[in-house]
Symmetry: C2
Amino acid sequence: MNEEMETGMTRTVYLNGDYLPEEEAKVSIFDRAFLMADGVYEVTSVLGGKLIDFDGHAARLERSLKELDMEMPMPVDALLEIHRELVRLNALDEGMIYLQVTRGAPGDRDFVFPDPETTPQTVVLFTQSKPGLADNPAAKRGIRVISIPDIRWGRRDIKTVQLLYPSMGKMAAKKAGCDDAWLVEDGLVTEGTSNNAYIVKGGRIITRNLSSDILHGITRAAVLRFAREAQMEIEERPFTIEEAQGADEAFITSASTFVMPVVEVDGAKLGDGTPGPVATRLREIYLEEVKKAAV
Amino acid sequence: MNEEMETGMTRTVYLNGDYLPEEEAKVSIFDRAFLMADGVYEVTSVLGGKLIDFDGHAARLERSLKELDMEMPMPVDALLEIHRELVRLNALDEGMIYLQVTRGAPGDRDFVFPDPETTPQTVVLFTQSKPGLADNPAAKRGIRVISIPDIRWGRRDIKTVQLLYPSMGKMAAKKAGCDDAWLVEDGLVTEGTSNNAYIVKGGRIITRNLSSDILHGITRAAVLRFAREAQMEIEERPFTIEEAQGADEAFITSASTFVMPVVEVDGAKLGDGTPGPVATRLREIYLEEVKKAAV
Protein backbone atom coordinates (compact mmCIF):
# COMPACT_ATOMS: atom_id res chain seq x y z
CA MET A 1 0.00 0.00 0.00
CA ASN A 2 1.12 3.49 -0.72
CA GLU A 3 -0.79 5.75 1.62
CA GLU A 4 1.04 8.90 0.54
CA MET A 5 -0.27 8.56 -2.96
CA GLU A 6 -3.76 7.86 -1.79
CA THR A 7 -3.90 10.88 0.46
CA GLY A 8 -2.86 13.27 -2.28
CA MET A 9 0.86 13.75 -1.65
CA THR A 10 2.81 15.07 -4.56
CA ARG A 11 4.22 12.55 -6.96
CA THR A 12 7.68 12.84 -8.37
CA VAL A 13 7.53 12.60 -12.15
CA TYR A 14 10.15 12.47 -14.87
CA LEU A 15 10.32 15.11 -17.60
CA ASN A 16 13.19 15.46 -20.08
CA GLY A 17 15.96 14.40 -17.74
CA ASP A 18 14.60 15.87 -14.51
CA TYR A 19 12.74 14.37 -11.59
CA LEU A 20 10.17 16.96 -10.53
CA PRO A 21 7.16 17.43 -8.29
CA GLU A 22 4.15 16.76 -10.53
CA GLU A 23 2.90 20.35 -10.20
CA GLU A 24 6.10 21.61 -11.78
CA ALA A 25 6.04 19.21 -14.72
CA LYS A 26 4.97 21.38 -17.62
CA VAL A 27 5.49 21.32 -21.34
CA SER A 28 5.51 24.06 -23.93
CA ILE A 29 2.22 24.96 -25.61
CA PHE A 30 4.13 24.22 -28.84
CA ASP A 31 4.66 20.59 -27.87
CA ARG A 32 3.55 18.47 -30.82
CA ALA A 33 1.48 16.22 -28.55
CA PHE A 34 -0.46 19.19 -27.20
CA LEU A 35 -1.08 20.76 -30.62
CA MET A 36 -1.24 17.73 -32.92
CA ALA A 37 -1.47 14.49 -30.92
CA ASP A 38 1.99 13.68 -32.26
CA GLY A 39 3.15 11.32 -29.55
CA VAL A 40 3.05 7.72 -28.41
CA TYR A 41 2.77 6.12 -25.01
CA GLU A 42 3.07 2.95 -22.98
CA VAL A 43 1.66 1.88 -19.63
CA THR A 44 3.60 -0.68 -17.60
CA SER A 45 2.11 -2.23 -14.49
CA VAL A 46 3.95 -2.49 -11.21
CA LEU A 47 3.26 -5.32 -8.77
CA GLY A 48 5.20 -5.64 -5.55
CA GLY A 49 7.38 -2.75 -6.69
CA LYS A 50 8.45 -4.60 -9.84
CA LEU A 51 7.72 -3.97 -13.51
CA ILE A 52 5.47 -6.33 -15.44
CA ASP A 53 6.53 -7.20 -19.01
CA PHE A 54 8.82 -4.19 -19.29
CA ASP A 55 10.65 -5.60 -22.33
CA GLY A 56 7.39 -6.03 -24.23
CA HIS A 57 6.37 -2.43 -23.61
CA ALA A 58 9.82 -1.12 -24.55
CA ALA A 59 9.75 -3.10 -27.80
CA ARG A 60 6.29 -1.82 -28.69
CA LEU A 61 7.35 1.74 -27.88
CA GLU A 62 10.21 1.41 -30.31
CA ARG A 63 7.86 0.05 -32.98
CA SER A 64 5.30 2.85 -32.47
CA LEU A 65 8.03 5.46 -32.73
CA LYS A 66 9.48 3.86 -35.85
CA GLU A 67 6.09 3.79 -37.58
CA LEU A 68 5.95 7.56 -37.03
CA ASP A 69 9.55 8.18 -38.15
CA MET A 70 10.78 8.78 -34.62
CA GLU A 71 13.76 7.31 -32.81
CA MET A 72 13.90 5.82 -29.35
CA PRO A 73 14.70 8.73 -27.01
CA MET A 74 17.30 6.64 -25.16
CA PRO A 75 18.45 3.03 -24.87
CA VAL A 76 16.02 0.55 -23.27
CA ASP A 77 18.34 0.21 -20.26
CA ALA A 78 18.09 3.93 -19.56
CA LEU A 79 14.30 3.78 -19.83
CA LEU A 80 14.27 0.90 -17.38
CA GLU A 81 16.38 2.90 -14.95
CA ILE A 82 13.90 5.79 -15.05
CA HIS A 83 11.00 3.40 -14.44
CA ARG A 84 12.85 1.94 -11.44
CA GLU A 85 13.82 5.33 -10.08
CA LEU A 86 10.18 6.46 -10.23
CA VAL A 87 9.10 3.31 -8.39
CA ARG A 88 11.69 4.11 -5.74
CA LEU A 89 11.02 7.84 -5.43
CA ASN A 90 7.27 7.29 -5.15
CA ALA A 91 7.50 4.13 -3.04
CA LEU A 92 5.22 2.52 -5.63
CA ASP A 93 4.04 -0.94 -4.69
CA GLU A 94 1.06 -1.57 -6.98
CA GLY A 95 0.03 0.58 -9.90
CA MET A 96 1.28 1.73 -13.26
CA ILE A 97 4.02 3.75 -14.85
CA TYR A 98 2.90 5.88 -17.75
CA LEU A 99 5.46 6.84 -20.40
CA GLN A 100 4.94 9.28 -23.26
CA VAL A 101 7.31 10.33 -26.03
CA THR A 102 6.38 13.22 -28.31
CA ARG A 103 8.02 14.78 -31.36
CA GLY A 104 9.01 17.65 -29.09
CA ALA A 105 8.29 21.34 -28.96
CA PRO A 106 9.52 23.23 -32.00
CA GLY A 107 9.44 27.02 -31.95
CA ASP A 108 6.10 27.22 -33.70
CA ARG A 109 3.11 25.23 -34.90
CA ASP A 110 3.60 23.56 -38.27
CA PHE A 111 2.20 20.42 -39.91
CA VAL A 112 5.70 19.64 -41.18
CA PHE A 113 7.70 17.53 -38.73
CA PRO A 114 10.42 19.52 -36.95
CA ASP A 115 14.06 18.58 -37.49
CA PRO A 116 14.94 16.07 -34.74
CA GLU A 117 18.46 17.55 -34.64
CA THR A 118 17.17 20.86 -33.34
CA THR A 119 13.93 19.76 -31.68
CA PRO A 120 14.53 17.12 -29.00
CA GLN A 121 11.69 14.76 -28.18
CA THR A 122 9.65 15.29 -25.04
CA VAL A 123 9.86 12.34 -22.66
CA VAL A 124 7.46 12.15 -19.71
CA LEU A 125 6.94 9.40 -17.17
CA PHE A 126 4.73 9.34 -14.11
CA THR A 127 3.45 6.80 -11.64
CA GLN A 128 -0.15 5.96 -10.79
CA SER A 129 -0.57 4.20 -7.47
CA LYS A 130 -3.39 1.65 -7.51
CA PRO A 131 -3.28 -0.41 -4.32
CA GLY A 132 -5.21 -3.62 -4.86
CA LEU A 133 -4.63 -3.65 -8.62
CA ALA A 134 -3.92 -7.38 -8.73
CA ASP A 135 -6.68 -8.16 -6.24
CA ASN A 136 -9.19 -5.97 -8.11
CA PRO A 137 -12.73 -6.78 -6.87
CA ALA A 138 -14.05 -6.15 -10.40
CA ALA A 139 -12.33 -9.38 -11.42
CA LYS A 140 -14.58 -11.27 -9.00
CA ARG A 141 -17.85 -9.86 -10.34
CA GLY A 142 -16.80 -9.16 -13.97
CA ILE A 143 -17.47 -6.06 -16.03
CA ARG A 144 -20.35 -5.06 -18.30
CA VAL A 145 -19.72 -3.67 -21.76
CA ILE A 146 -21.73 -1.86 -24.39
CA SER A 147 -20.88 -1.67 -28.08
CA ILE A 148 -20.28 1.49 -30.05
CA PRO A 149 -19.11 2.08 -33.64
CA ASP A 150 -15.33 2.08 -34.09
CA ILE A 151 -14.62 5.39 -35.78
CA ARG A 152 -10.95 5.69 -34.76
CA TRP A 153 -8.19 6.26 -37.28
CA GLY A 154 -6.87 3.30 -39.24
CA ARG A 155 -3.53 2.75 -37.49
CA ARG A 156 -4.59 1.44 -34.10
CA ASP A 157 -1.48 -0.73 -34.04
CA ILE A 158 0.47 2.46 -33.29
CA LYS A 159 -0.07 3.43 -29.66
CA THR A 160 -0.62 7.16 -30.21
CA VAL A 161 -2.14 9.64 -27.79
CA GLN A 162 -5.15 10.07 -30.10
CA LEU A 163 -7.40 8.83 -27.32
CA LEU A 164 -10.33 11.20 -27.62
CA TYR A 165 -12.69 8.61 -29.05
CA PRO A 166 -11.73 5.85 -26.59
CA SER A 167 -12.32 8.43 -23.88
CA MET A 168 -15.73 9.26 -25.37
CA GLY A 169 -16.42 5.53 -25.46
CA LYS A 170 -15.69 5.16 -21.75
CA MET A 171 -18.07 8.06 -21.09
CA ALA A 172 -20.78 6.42 -23.21
CA ALA A 173 -20.33 3.20 -21.21
CA LYS A 174 -20.51 5.11 -17.95
CA LYS A 175 -23.67 6.89 -19.07
CA ALA A 176 -25.21 3.50 -19.87
CA GLY A 177 -24.33 2.28 -16.38
CA CYS A 178 -21.63 -0.02 -17.74
CA ASP A 179 -17.87 -0.33 -17.38
CA ASP A 180 -16.46 -0.20 -20.87
CA ALA A 181 -17.26 -0.17 -24.57
CA TRP A 182 -16.35 -2.62 -27.31
CA LEU A 183 -15.76 -1.03 -30.67
CA VAL A 184 -17.46 -2.43 -33.75
CA GLU A 185 -16.36 -1.91 -37.34
CA ASP A 186 -18.05 -3.48 -40.37
CA GLY A 187 -20.16 -5.54 -37.97
CA LEU A 188 -17.14 -7.01 -36.17
CA VAL A 189 -15.64 -6.25 -32.77
CA THR A 190 -12.18 -4.70 -33.07
CA GLU A 191 -11.28 -4.27 -29.37
CA GLY A 192 -12.24 -2.44 -26.18
CA THR A 193 -11.54 1.25 -25.60
CA SER A 194 -8.18 0.45 -24.00
CA ASN A 195 -7.95 -3.34 -24.08
CA ASN A 196 -8.21 -6.39 -26.33
CA ALA A 197 -11.49 -8.34 -26.43
CA TYR A 198 -12.06 -12.11 -26.20
CA ILE A 199 -14.95 -14.55 -26.13
CA VAL A 200 -14.95 -18.20 -25.11
CA LYS A 201 -17.23 -20.75 -26.76
CA GLY A 202 -17.07 -24.49 -26.27
CA GLY A 203 -13.70 -24.13 -24.56
CA ARG A 204 -12.18 -22.19 -27.47
CA ILE A 205 -10.78 -18.70 -26.91
CA ILE A 206 -11.66 -16.41 -29.79
CA THR A 207 -9.95 -13.03 -30.25
CA ARG A 208 -9.43 -10.80 -33.22
CA ASN A 209 -6.30 -11.47 -35.28
CA LEU A 210 -3.55 -8.86 -35.27
CA SER A 211 -3.60 -6.17 -37.96
CA SER A 212 -3.58 -2.38 -38.06
CA ASP A 213 -7.22 -2.56 -36.85
CA ILE A 214 -6.21 -3.24 -33.23
CA LEU A 215 -3.48 -2.62 -30.73
CA HIS A 216 -0.99 -5.44 -30.51
CA GLY A 217 -1.49 -5.94 -26.81
CA ILE A 218 1.55 -6.88 -24.77
CA THR A 219 -0.79 -8.53 -22.28
CA ARG A 220 -2.65 -10.18 -25.19
CA ALA A 221 0.59 -11.80 -26.40
CA ALA A 222 1.46 -13.04 -22.91
CA VAL A 223 -2.04 -14.35 -22.17
CA LEU A 224 -2.26 -16.22 -25.49
CA ARG A 225 1.16 -17.74 -24.82
CA PHE A 226 0.10 -18.90 -21.35
CA ALA A 227 -3.21 -20.20 -22.75
CA ARG A 228 -1.38 -22.25 -25.38
CA GLU A 229 0.99 -23.60 -22.75
CA ALA A 230 -2.08 -24.65 -20.74
CA GLN A 231 -3.34 -26.52 -23.85
CA MET A 232 -6.25 -24.15 -24.39
CA GLU A 233 -7.54 -23.80 -27.94
CA ILE A 234 -7.23 -20.36 -29.53
CA GLU A 235 -8.87 -19.00 -32.64
CA GLU A 236 -7.58 -15.63 -33.84
CA ARG A 237 -10.40 -14.12 -35.92
CA PRO A 238 -12.96 -11.32 -35.65
CA PHE A 239 -16.34 -11.95 -34.02
CA THR A 240 -19.66 -10.12 -33.91
CA ILE A 241 -21.54 -8.70 -30.92
CA GLU A 242 -24.22 -11.36 -31.53
CA GLU A 243 -21.59 -14.12 -31.31
CA ALA A 244 -20.26 -12.55 -28.12
CA GLN A 245 -23.75 -12.47 -26.63
CA GLY A 246 -24.09 -16.18 -27.37
CA ALA A 247 -20.66 -17.04 -25.96
CA ASP A 248 -20.08 -18.99 -22.75
CA GLU A 249 -17.91 -16.25 -21.35
CA ALA A 250 -15.84 -13.25 -22.37
CA PHE A 251 -12.96 -11.17 -21.10
CA ILE A 252 -10.58 -8.33 -21.88
CA THR A 253 -6.85 -7.98 -21.41
CA SER A 254 -4.69 -4.91 -20.88
CA ALA A 255 -1.54 -3.93 -19.02
CA SER A 256 -3.51 -2.55 -16.08
CA THR A 257 -6.55 -4.85 -15.94
CA PHE A 258 -4.53 -8.00 -16.75
CA VAL A 259 -7.32 -10.48 -17.56
CA MET A 260 -10.75 -9.07 -16.67
CA PRO A 261 -13.92 -11.15 -17.07
CA VAL A 262 -16.81 -9.64 -19.06
CA VAL A 263 -20.23 -10.80 -17.86
CA GLU A 264 -22.58 -8.73 -20.00
CA VAL A 265 -22.49 -7.46 -23.60
CA ASP A 266 -25.07 -4.87 -24.72
CA GLY A 267 -27.44 -5.94 -21.95
CA ALA A 268 -27.18 -9.68 -22.61
CA LYS A 269 -25.78 -11.70 -19.72
CA LEU A 270 -23.17 -14.28 -20.69
CA GLY A 271 -23.74 -17.70 -19.13
CA ASP A 272 -24.96 -17.20 -15.58
CA GLY A 273 -23.70 -13.61 -15.47
CA THR A 274 -20.64 -14.35 -13.39
CA PRO A 275 -16.97 -14.59 -14.42
CA GLY A 276 -16.29 -17.73 -16.42
CA PRO A 277 -13.73 -20.41 -15.59
CA VAL A 278 -11.43 -19.72 -18.54
CA ALA A 279 -11.11 -15.99 -17.78
CA THR A 280 -10.67 -16.67 -14.07
CA ARG A 281 -8.03 -19.32 -14.68
CA LEU A 282 -6.17 -17.17 -17.23
CA ARG A 283 -6.10 -14.27 -14.78
CA GLU A 284 -4.55 -16.52 -12.15
CA ILE A 285 -1.97 -17.96 -14.54
CA TYR A 286 -1.13 -14.53 -15.95
CA LEU A 287 -0.58 -12.90 -12.58
CA GLU A 288 1.42 -15.85 -11.30
CA GLU A 289 3.68 -15.95 -14.36
CA VAL A 290 4.30 -12.24 -14.79
CA LYS A 291 5.06 -11.74 -11.11
CA LYS A 292 7.73 -14.40 -11.46
CA ALA A 293 9.23 -12.59 -14.46
CA ALA A 294 8.84 -9.04 -13.09
CA VAL A 295 11.97 -6.87 -13.05
CA MET B 1 5.26 43.79 -42.27
CA ASN B 2 6.26 42.65 -38.85
CA GLU B 3 10.02 42.53 -38.71
CA GLU B 4 10.22 41.66 -35.03
CA MET B 5 8.40 38.40 -35.59
CA GLU B 6 10.53 37.51 -38.56
CA THR B 7 13.79 38.04 -36.73
CA GLY B 8 12.83 35.76 -33.88
CA MET B 9 11.63 38.17 -31.20
CA THR B 10 9.52 36.63 -28.49
CA ARG B 11 5.80 36.53 -29.09
CA THR B 12 3.34 37.35 -26.41
CA VAL B 13 0.81 34.54 -26.15
CA TYR B 14 -2.36 34.05 -24.12
CA LEU B 15 -2.70 31.21 -21.64
CA ASN B 16 -5.57 30.86 -19.16
CA GLY B 17 -6.04 34.57 -18.47
CA ASP B 18 -2.42 35.65 -18.75
CA TYR B 19 -0.43 37.31 -21.50
CA LEU B 20 3.02 35.73 -21.41
CA PRO B 21 6.26 35.50 -23.37
CA GLU B 22 5.93 32.38 -25.48
CA GLU B 23 8.81 30.64 -23.66
CA GLU B 24 6.88 30.84 -20.41
CA ALA B 25 3.63 29.45 -21.82
CA LYS B 26 3.53 25.93 -20.46
CA VAL B 27 0.78 23.47 -19.63
CA SER B 28 0.65 20.59 -17.20
CA ILE B 29 1.72 17.17 -18.44
CA PHE B 30 -1.76 16.11 -17.27
CA ASP B 31 -3.47 18.41 -19.76
CA ARG B 32 -6.03 16.33 -21.63
CA ALA B 33 -4.80 17.65 -24.98
CA PHE B 34 -1.25 16.50 -24.24
CA LEU B 35 -2.29 13.04 -22.97
CA MET B 36 -5.42 12.31 -25.00
CA ALA B 37 -5.86 14.82 -27.85
CA ASP B 38 -8.92 16.07 -26.00
CA GLY B 39 -9.08 19.57 -27.39
CA VAL B 40 -10.33 21.63 -30.30
CA TYR B 41 -8.88 24.57 -32.18
CA GLU B 42 -9.51 27.36 -34.64
CA VAL B 43 -7.22 29.43 -36.84
CA THR B 44 -8.32 32.93 -37.79
CA SER B 45 -6.43 34.95 -40.36
CA VAL B 46 -5.37 38.53 -39.83
CA LEU B 47 -5.02 40.94 -42.75
CA GLY B 48 -4.08 44.55 -42.20
CA GLY B 49 -4.28 43.92 -38.46
CA LYS B 50 -7.93 42.84 -38.68
CA LEU B 51 -9.59 39.48 -38.14
CA ILE B 52 -11.05 37.59 -41.09
CA ASP B 53 -14.42 35.86 -40.53
CA PHE B 54 -14.03 35.88 -36.74
CA ASP B 55 -17.73 35.17 -36.16
CA GLY B 56 -17.59 32.05 -38.32
CA HIS B 57 -14.63 30.67 -36.40
CA ALA B 58 -16.22 31.47 -33.04
CA ALA B 59 -19.44 29.72 -34.08
CA ARG B 60 -17.56 26.63 -35.24
CA LEU B 61 -15.53 26.58 -32.04
CA GLU B 62 -18.75 26.51 -30.05
CA ARG B 63 -20.08 23.67 -32.20
CA SER B 64 -16.86 21.61 -31.88
CA LEU B 65 -16.93 22.04 -28.11
CA LYS B 66 -20.61 21.12 -27.89
CA GLU B 67 -20.06 17.92 -29.89
CA LEU B 68 -17.49 16.93 -27.26
CA ASP B 69 -19.68 17.92 -24.29
CA MET B 70 -17.66 21.04 -23.57
CA GLU B 71 -18.81 24.60 -23.00
CA MET B 72 -17.48 27.78 -24.51
CA PRO B 73 -14.69 28.94 -22.15
CA MET B 74 -15.97 32.53 -22.30
CA PRO B 75 -18.40 34.67 -24.28
CA VAL B 76 -17.55 35.35 -27.93
CA ASP B 77 -16.94 39.04 -27.12
CA ALA B 78 -14.26 38.11 -24.61
CA LEU B 79 -12.61 35.80 -27.15
CA LEU B 80 -12.64 38.62 -29.68
CA GLU B 81 -10.97 40.91 -27.16
CA ILE B 82 -8.14 38.41 -26.62
CA HIS B 83 -7.66 38.07 -30.37
CA ARG B 84 -7.46 41.85 -30.71
CA GLU B 85 -5.13 42.22 -27.75
CA LEU B 86 -2.76 39.66 -29.25
CA VAL B 87 -2.81 41.50 -32.57
CA ARG B 88 -1.92 44.68 -30.68
CA LEU B 89 0.74 43.20 -28.38
CA ASN B 90 2.50 41.47 -31.27
CA ALA B 91 1.95 44.27 -33.80
CA LEU B 92 0.51 41.63 -36.10
CA ASP B 93 -0.26 42.88 -39.58
CA GLU B 94 -0.61 39.70 -41.66
CA GLY B 95 -0.79 36.20 -40.30
CA MET B 96 -2.97 34.00 -38.13
CA ILE B 97 -4.23 33.66 -34.62
CA TYR B 98 -4.35 30.11 -33.33
CA LEU B 99 -6.82 29.27 -30.57
CA GLN B 100 -7.03 25.99 -28.66
CA VAL B 101 -9.43 24.91 -25.93
CA THR B 102 -8.80 21.67 -24.06
CA ARG B 103 -10.72 19.79 -21.38
CA GLY B 104 -8.11 21.03 -18.93
CA ALA B 105 -5.57 19.40 -16.67
CA PRO B 106 -7.11 17.17 -14.01
CA GLY B 107 -4.90 15.81 -11.23
CA ASP B 108 -4.22 12.56 -13.02
CA ARG B 109 -4.64 10.67 -16.28
CA ASP B 110 -8.03 9.03 -16.73
CA PHE B 111 -10.18 8.13 -19.74
CA VAL B 112 -13.21 9.44 -17.84
CA PHE B 113 -13.82 13.15 -18.46
CA PRO B 114 -12.88 15.31 -15.46
CA ASP B 115 -15.59 17.32 -13.72
CA PRO B 116 -15.67 20.74 -15.41
CA GLU B 117 -16.53 22.30 -12.03
CA THR B 118 -13.15 21.36 -10.59
CA THR B 119 -11.08 21.15 -13.77
CA PRO B 120 -11.13 24.39 -15.75
CA GLN B 121 -10.50 24.23 -19.47
CA THR B 122 -7.14 25.23 -20.86
CA VAL B 123 -7.36 28.17 -23.26
CA VAL B 124 -4.34 29.06 -25.39
CA LEU B 125 -4.00 31.60 -28.17
CA PHE B 126 -0.93 32.66 -30.09
CA THR B 127 -0.11 34.65 -33.20
CA GLN B 128 1.77 33.53 -36.28
CA SER B 129 3.16 36.38 -38.34
CA LYS B 130 3.09 35.64 -42.09
CA PRO B 131 3.95 38.80 -44.00
CA GLY B 132 2.74 38.43 -47.57
CA LEU B 133 -0.04 35.98 -46.67
CA ALA B 134 -2.58 37.63 -48.99
CA ASP B 135 -0.02 38.18 -51.72
CA ASN B 136 1.28 34.60 -51.48
CA PRO B 137 3.41 33.80 -54.55
CA ALA B 138 2.11 30.19 -54.43
CA ALA B 139 -1.25 31.54 -55.57
CA LYS B 140 0.36 32.74 -58.80
CA ARG B 141 1.93 29.39 -59.68
CA GLY B 142 -0.54 27.02 -57.97
CA ILE B 143 0.22 24.02 -55.77
CA ARG B 144 0.74 20.35 -56.58
CA VAL B 145 -1.05 17.65 -54.60
CA ILE B 146 -0.72 13.91 -54.20
CA SER B 147 -3.45 11.59 -52.96
CA ILE B 148 -3.23 9.35 -49.91
CA PRO B 149 -5.83 7.14 -48.17
CA ASP B 150 -8.02 8.96 -45.66
CA ILE B 151 -7.61 6.95 -42.48
CA ARG B 152 -8.61 9.67 -40.00
CA TRP B 153 -11.31 9.15 -37.41
CA GLY B 154 -14.94 9.48 -38.46
CA ARG B 155 -15.80 12.90 -36.97
CA ARG B 156 -13.79 15.26 -39.13
CA ASP B 157 -16.54 17.85 -38.72
CA ILE B 158 -15.21 18.39 -35.18
CA LYS B 159 -12.02 20.43 -35.35
CA THR B 160 -9.99 18.41 -32.85
CA VAL B 161 -6.23 18.46 -32.35
CA GLN B 162 -5.98 14.89 -33.65
CA LEU B 163 -3.75 16.11 -36.46
CA LEU B 164 -1.12 13.39 -36.55
CA TYR B 165 -2.36 11.89 -39.83
CA PRO B 166 -2.80 15.24 -41.59
CA SER B 167 0.74 16.01 -40.46
CA MET B 168 1.95 12.67 -41.85
CA GLY B 169 0.11 13.53 -45.07
CA LYS B 170 1.96 16.82 -45.41
CA MET B 171 5.23 14.96 -44.90
CA ALA B 172 4.26 12.41 -47.58
CA ALA B 173 3.52 15.28 -49.97
CA LYS B 174 6.82 16.96 -49.16
CA LYS B 175 8.69 13.69 -49.73
CA ALA B 176 7.00 13.40 -53.14
CA GLY B 177 8.16 16.94 -53.98
CA CYS B 178 4.60 18.26 -53.76
CA ASP B 179 2.77 20.79 -51.58
CA ASP B 180 -0.13 18.95 -50.03
CA ALA B 181 -2.12 15.72 -49.99
CA TRP B 182 -5.76 15.06 -50.83
CA LEU B 183 -7.35 12.35 -48.75
CA VAL B 184 -9.30 9.57 -50.45
CA GLU B 185 -11.90 7.35 -48.82
CA ASP B 186 -13.91 4.71 -50.65
CA GLY B 187 -12.46 6.02 -53.89
CA LEU B 188 -13.64 9.58 -53.29
CA VAL B 189 -11.74 12.68 -52.24
CA THR B 190 -12.80 13.90 -48.80
CA GLU B 191 -10.60 17.00 -48.44
CA GLY B 192 -6.99 18.18 -48.17
CA THR B 193 -4.85 17.70 -45.05
CA SER B 194 -5.95 21.09 -43.69
CA ASN B 195 -8.27 22.48 -46.34
CA ASN B 196 -11.35 21.74 -48.45
CA ALA B 197 -10.86 20.50 -52.03
CA TYR B 198 -12.58 21.67 -55.24
CA ILE B 199 -12.47 20.93 -58.94
CA VAL B 200 -13.89 22.98 -61.82
CA LYS B 201 -15.26 21.36 -64.98
CA GLY B 202 -17.16 23.12 -67.74
CA GLY B 203 -17.52 26.17 -65.51
CA ARG B 204 -19.09 24.21 -62.62
CA ILE B 205 -17.44 24.19 -59.21
CA ILE B 206 -17.57 20.73 -57.65
CA THR B 207 -16.81 20.19 -53.96
CA ARG B 208 -17.75 17.50 -51.50
CA ASN B 209 -21.04 17.98 -49.65
CA LEU B 210 -20.92 18.62 -45.92
CA SER B 211 -21.12 15.64 -43.56
CA SER B 212 -19.05 14.24 -40.72
CA ASP B 213 -16.55 13.15 -43.40
CA ILE B 214 -15.07 16.63 -43.79
CA LEU B 215 -14.44 19.84 -41.92
CA HIS B 216 -17.15 22.40 -42.43
CA GLY B 217 -14.75 25.06 -43.66
CA ILE B 218 -15.49 28.63 -42.68
CA THR B 219 -13.62 29.72 -45.80
CA ARG B 220 -15.54 27.10 -47.81
CA ALA B 221 -18.87 28.61 -46.74
CA ALA B 222 -17.74 32.13 -47.60
CA VAL B 223 -16.25 31.15 -50.96
CA LEU B 224 -19.35 29.24 -52.02
CA ARG B 225 -21.50 32.21 -51.01
CA PHE B 226 -19.37 34.59 -53.08
CA ALA B 227 -19.36 32.13 -56.00
CA ARG B 228 -23.15 31.95 -55.95
CA GLU B 229 -23.39 35.71 -55.79
CA ALA B 230 -21.13 35.81 -58.86
CA GLN B 231 -23.61 33.45 -60.63
CA MET B 232 -21.15 30.57 -60.68
CA GLU B 233 -22.64 27.06 -60.74
CA ILE B 234 -21.87 24.83 -57.75
CA GLU B 235 -22.30 21.11 -57.35
CA GLU B 236 -21.81 19.76 -53.82
CA ARG B 237 -20.89 16.10 -54.23
CA PRO B 238 -17.85 13.85 -53.84
CA PHE B 239 -15.45 13.37 -56.76
CA THR B 240 -12.67 10.92 -57.57
CA ILE B 241 -8.97 11.57 -58.20
CA GLU B 242 -9.54 10.54 -61.84
CA GLU B 243 -12.28 13.14 -62.20
CA ALA B 244 -9.97 15.73 -60.64
CA GLN B 245 -7.21 14.82 -63.10
CA GLY B 246 -9.64 15.38 -65.96
CA ALA B 247 -10.92 18.70 -64.56
CA ASP B 248 -10.24 22.09 -66.12
CA GLU B 249 -8.85 23.40 -62.85
CA ALA B 250 -8.84 22.77 -59.12
CA PHE B 251 -8.26 24.62 -55.88
CA ILE B 252 -8.34 24.40 -52.11
CA THR B 253 -9.71 26.74 -49.47
CA SER B 254 -8.71 27.27 -45.86
CA ALA B 255 -8.51 30.11 -43.35
CA SER B 256 -4.82 30.68 -44.03
CA THR B 257 -4.51 29.87 -47.75
CA PHE B 258 -7.86 31.53 -48.66
CA VAL B 259 -8.39 30.21 -52.22
CA MET B 260 -5.28 28.45 -53.53
CA PRO B 261 -5.14 27.07 -57.09
CA VAL B 262 -4.13 23.42 -57.57
CA VAL B 263 -2.30 22.77 -60.84
CA GLU B 264 -1.35 19.11 -60.51
CA VAL B 265 -3.02 16.03 -58.99
CA ASP B 266 -0.99 12.83 -58.57
CA GLY B 267 1.40 13.90 -61.30
CA ALA B 268 -1.30 14.89 -63.83
CA LYS B 269 -1.25 18.53 -64.86
CA LEU B 270 -4.65 20.21 -64.93
CA GLY B 271 -5.31 22.24 -68.07
CA ASP B 272 -2.08 24.03 -69.03
CA GLY B 273 -0.61 23.54 -65.56
CA THR B 274 -1.19 27.10 -64.41
CA PRO B 275 -3.82 28.50 -62.02
CA GLY B 276 -7.28 28.49 -63.62
CA PRO B 277 -9.52 31.52 -64.07
CA VAL B 278 -12.21 30.39 -61.61
CA ALA B 279 -9.77 29.83 -58.74
CA THR B 280 -7.94 33.06 -59.51
CA ARG B 281 -11.17 35.06 -59.68
CA LEU B 282 -12.53 33.46 -56.48
CA ARG B 283 -9.34 34.30 -54.62
CA GLU B 284 -9.67 37.93 -55.70
CA ILE B 285 -13.34 38.12 -54.74
CA TYR B 286 -12.75 36.35 -51.42
CA LEU B 287 -9.87 38.61 -50.33
CA GLU B 288 -11.75 41.71 -51.41
CA GLU B 289 -14.93 40.78 -49.57
CA VAL B 290 -13.39 39.49 -46.33
CA LYS B 291 -11.09 42.48 -46.01
CA LYS B 292 -14.18 44.69 -46.19
CA ALA B 293 -15.85 42.66 -43.43
CA ALA B 294 -12.74 42.22 -41.23
CA VAL B 295 -13.04 43.26 -37.58
